[in-house]
């Protein structure tokens, strides 16, 4: 095993990290501000992937379809979540977590069946756009698929935009204040219900974006929501509930242990991320970074 194999596996892990981070940061945003453990987040990720498939197919697999899907799929997911939020969730913010967990779990089952009704049970594939077919050669020996390179650019970009949103916009500041003391935010004239609604939609947009971005790298299939929501929750928990940078660190731990694990111990490598979770929670039961809870 040479250094290039390891490096290339690290890059694969980082690409995976990007997807995990985008989805988990959305989950963490919703968890931190609205206190909703949104089990249906994975379903929205799946919905993003299926919508990307439909848009891509509509454009006959042309590159244009990919770019339209890049914007359109997350927006469609955001729209669905907006409707769900205004019609159902906004009335339930004061309920206890167990209720919300059950409710969102119910939603995930409904979404799962709806996706099955609309798209059927077969595997779907979304083509990698032509501009991203091929490799970049790094250090003469290292082949980095262009699409992975694209993901490695998108990841930091999303992180930066999220940082801007949370720290520099009024909406982001309000949502940070509301995460800690929603009653007082209301008492300074802010319609908390709308802030929550917009934060929910922003978080779900990220789930849709993650699903869209992952679509060209996998077979889009029913059940893709289950494994991901599990991983996302673990990432958010080890990072610190509601902390977006915690989600980044958690996603890095998950993505890298996964890819390195497979390399050094192919049969059991898959357990490595979970072992890492156990380790983190043993020493830092509240997660690595400060939780907003």
């Amino acid at each position: 095993m040479d250094i290039y194999t390891i490096l290339s596996q690290v890059l694969v892990g980082l690409s995976r990290t990007v997807i995990l981070f985008i989805v988990s940061s959305g989950l963490s945003l919703i968890l931190g501000v609205l206190r909703i453990p949104n089990v249906a987040h994975g379903s929205l990720y799946m919905l993003g992937a299926y919508t990307a498939y439909t848009i891509s197919k509509f454009f006959g697999g042309q590159d244009l379809g990919f770019w339209v899907a890049l914007i359109g799929a997350p927006l469609f997911v955001a729209l669905v979540s907006f409707i769900a939020e205004r019609c159902v969730f906004q009335f339930l913010y004061e309920r206890e977590h167990l209720m919300l967990l059950l409710l969102t779990f119910g939603f995930s089952l409904i979404f799962g069946d709806l996706v099955k009704m609309v798209w059927g049970g077969e595997y779907k594939t979304v083509p990698v756009p032509k501009v991203f077919q091929g490799y970049i050669l790094l250090f003469r020996h290292l082949h980095l698929p262009l699409y992975n390179a694209f993901l490695l650019i998108i990841g930091p970009l999303v992180a930066f935009l999220l940082w801007l949103f949370v720290n520099k916009t009024k909406m982001g500041k309000i949502s940070r204040a509301a995460a800690v003391d929603r009653e007082m935010v209301g008492a300074v004239g802010i319609n908390v219900s709308w802030v929550f609604g917009m934060t929910f939609v922003a978080g779900c947009f990220l789930a849709g974006l993650g699903g869209m971005l992952v679509a060209p790298t996998i077979s889009v299939t029913l059940g893709m929501d289950h494994s991901l929501i599990m991983e996302s929750f673990l990432i958010v928990i080890i990072g610190g509930l509601g902390n977006i940078w915690g989600a980044l660190i958690g996603a890095l731990i998950f993505g890298l242990t996964q890819s390195i694990g497979i390399l050094i111990w192919p049969k059991f490598g898959i357990i490595l991320p979970y072992a890492a979770v156990v380790m983190v929670l043993t020493f830092k039961p509240k997660g690595l970074l400060k939780s907003t809870w």
Partner: protein, 234 residues
């Protein structure tokens, strides 16, 4: 009685779950007044404030603001109508800077700006980029008042602003509160510190066990030793 009070609460009854906290509380605040709501710890002062602000709305009774019923309206609506609320436990937005605490507030107009808040509370200006959670008690108190001012309130609900502050800071705060009155803001001031309250108020209500026990001008209270002995810590 044809003039309309700025705030009038009529027979409000407030509950926390099953426990009955306020019993037929009625009070009013006229424009330009500082009205004291005095009473011991746990007498129902904070609950009265929260009832008026819609945070813990009364189960029965009515509240009028400028003659219109505001009963059951949500806190953010009341704030936008011009009612500022400064809770007794301060509740600054700890993760945000001082400046951000002021900036996120909903503003009806530009009458109050950050600069004007800094004029009244000069201490805040130097620490405007500091995280609000790291401020001292006095600084946090100024910030919560400043935060409420950003919404250009006509009525300010001030819940024990001097609680837990050093005497020298209390003194400064009293002067600042009088400045707010000069600026035309009416204030309902909950307080258990009689000496501090008497420097500020025009009229007083005394609340005990969730019911109003005395209503009168400052002078009437000052002369009534029995009431003072019975309901207040002196």
């Amino acid at each position: 009685m044809n003039s309309v009070s700025l705030l009038e609460a009529k027979n409000i009854n407030t509950f926390y779950g099953l426990s009955h906290i306020l019993f037929d509380v009625s009070l009013r605040v006229e424009k330009g007044e500082i009205v004291g709501l005095l009473g011991r710890n746990g007498a129902g002062k904070s609950t009265t404030m929260k009832s008026i602000m819609g945070i813990n709305p009364p189960r029965t009774g009515e509240i009028f603001y400028k003659g219109k019923s505001i009963t059951g309206k949500r806190p953010f609506v009341l704030f936008r109508l011009g009612i500022g609320y400064v809770p007794d436990d301060r509740r600054v937005f700890a993760d945000l800077t001082v400046e951000d605490n002021l900036e996120i507030v909903y503003r009806r107009n530009n009458e109050w700006t950050k600069e004007r808040v800094y004029e009244i509370f000069p201490a805040l200006k130097n620490i405007r980029n500091r995280r609000a959670g790291n401020l001292s008690g006095g600084e946090q108190q100024m910030l919560t008042i400043g935060r409420a001012l950003m919404g250009n309130p006509e009525l300010l609900l001030l819940d024990e602003p001097t609680e837990g502050l050093a005497p020298i800071i209390v003194k400064a705060l009293e002067e600042q509160i009088l400045k707010l009155k000069e600026a035309g803001i009416s204030i309902l001031l909950a307080e258990q510190n009689l000496r501090s309250a008497l420097k500020l108020v025009d009229r007083v209500y005394i609340i005990d066990n969730g019911a109003i026990k005395f209503e009168g001008t400052k002078k009437e209270l000052e002369e009534n030793e029995e009431i003072k002995r019975k309901y207040l810590l002196i």
